[in-house]
């Protein structure tokens, strides 16, 4: 793990891994969406509306997965002081928030024809909205912490760990409390969803996840470049004085 602690070594890997993730992700996501939109069957009760599934579910997975990644990176930063952990967590915040927002918007568009309402304050929808606000809070904190000198502040990492409490709440909200949102269709080892829906959905999830990984690597490179540029400016200012 600490082999990647050296930013130069990380950048060497990220330089070829990032485009690889992006291209394979876009190919898989496009193929699975075409499959889902044009070739997968309509659902027995919901009909054609079910096709929004292929965007809604991967977005939900990445919104929640993004915060899980922030929590793991925050723990790594707090305990092992890994130099790239804080940067990785910062890099996840924006794509995580975007996918959470996509999940909420597609869910709302789906809810109108399926349930008969755009929005209800049930456990699942409310906890997912809370996740979006947590992302906003995290992004603001990380921005403020990076402005204050060398990014030595541990406040975003502490916030990242505290916010992780919401992730199991989102997952179990439909099991603990009566909710309008359906319980999970897919759990480890079994699926209440026919294979016709499951296969394009899993491919879409892998595709969007690869894109997510590519965006995170690109943002990590950008943040590292910013830090380098700032350090160079500071050295120049020091030499001139």
């Amino acid at each position: 793990m600490h082999g990647f602690a050296n930013p130069a070594r990380f950048l060497r890997i990220a330089r070829w891994l990032m485009p690889l993730l992006m291209v394979s992700g876009v190919v898989l996501a496009a193929a699975s969406l075409a499959w889902g939109l044009f070739f997968a069957p309509a659902e027995g009760l919901q009909g054609e509306t079910v096709r929004i599934l292929y965007i809604h579910v991967p977005s939900a997975w990445l919104g929640m997965g993004g915060w899980t990644a922030i929590a793991v990176a925050s723990l790594t930063e707090l305990v092992w002081r890994h130099p790239l952990a804080g940067i990785a967590a910062r890099a996840v915040a924006v794509p995580g928030a975007v996918f959470t927002a996509v999940c909420l918007v597609t869910g709302s568009l789906w809810g109108r024809p399926a349930w008969g309402t755009w929005w209800v304050w049930d456990g699942r929808l409310t906890s997912m909205l809370v996740l979006l606000f947590l992302y906003f809070g995290y992004a603001a904190l990380a921005q403020a912490a990076s402005g204050a000198g060398q990014g030595g502040s541990r406040v975003p990492a502490v916030f990242g760990l505290i916010g992780a409490v919401n992730i199991p709440i989102i997952h179990y909200s439909v099991l603990w409390w009566n909710s309008l949102h359906q319980p999970p269709s897919i759990s480890v080892g079994k699926s209440a969803m026919a294979v016709d829906f499951l296969v394009p959905l899993l491919i879409a999830t892998v595709g969007f996840s690869l894109i997510f990984g590519g965006v995170v690597l690109a943002r990590m490179r950008a943040i590292l470049a910013d830090i380098q540029a700032e350090a160079r400016l500071r050295r120049k200012a020091g030499a001139a004085a």
Binding site: Q46, L75, N178, Q182, A192
Partner: protein, 160 residues
């Protein structure tokens, strides 16, 4: 005068292990607080009552509540006025008759889930002023849905 054993013990714990223990303690406290909050919210966080809840603790006739459950098969009827529908919501343990006048969501069918917003009248009928359809976790292709169980099994066997 320092105690050599104690100072050796303190130095023996690596800084990162100390941080790990601190973070672990903080996380345990945090998860405990969250579990307490969830336990405290267990009734308030539910979006609707199921029939057995609502019959066990009947709400006042003028209090708006939500009733959720399955629409009993064969119970859906249209009243003579042509716009009012009547059906029974059940949760496997209890049943509540519901009346609703208005447009139903397209997924509202017998044998599927429903959430009715309205009031429980004194005579035990739930008078709904809004209906929401609740889809379950099962996703079945439309073609398979129209087949009988045996036909579907045959198709699955043939394609495997």
């Amino acid at each position: 005068m320092t105690n050599p054993a104690a100072s050796k013990g303190a130095a023996g714990i690596k800084a990162k292990h100390q941080r790990l223990v601190l973070v672990a303690i903080a996380l345990v406290a945090l998860i405990g607080a969250a579990l307490l909050a969830i336990w405290g919210l267990r009734s308030q966080a539910s979006y609707f009552y199921v029939p057995s809840d609502i019959l066990a603790a009947r709400p006042d006739p003028d209090r708006g509540v939500r009733l959720g459950g399955m629409v009993e098969k064969g119970s859906l009827k249209t009243e003579p006025d042509g716009v009012t529908i009547a059906f029974v919501v059940h949760d496997g343990k209890a049943r509540v008759p519901v009346k609703f006048k208005g447009i139903v969501p397209s997924l509202f069918v017998e044998g599927s889930g429903v959430v009715a917003e309205g009031k429980l009248a004194a005579d035990g009928t739930f008078v709904a002023d809004n209906l929401l359809a609740k889809h379950d976790e099962k996703y079945v292709p439309r073609e398979m849905k129209e087949m009988t169980e045996a036909q579907a099994k045959q198709v699955v066997a043939e394609t495997q």
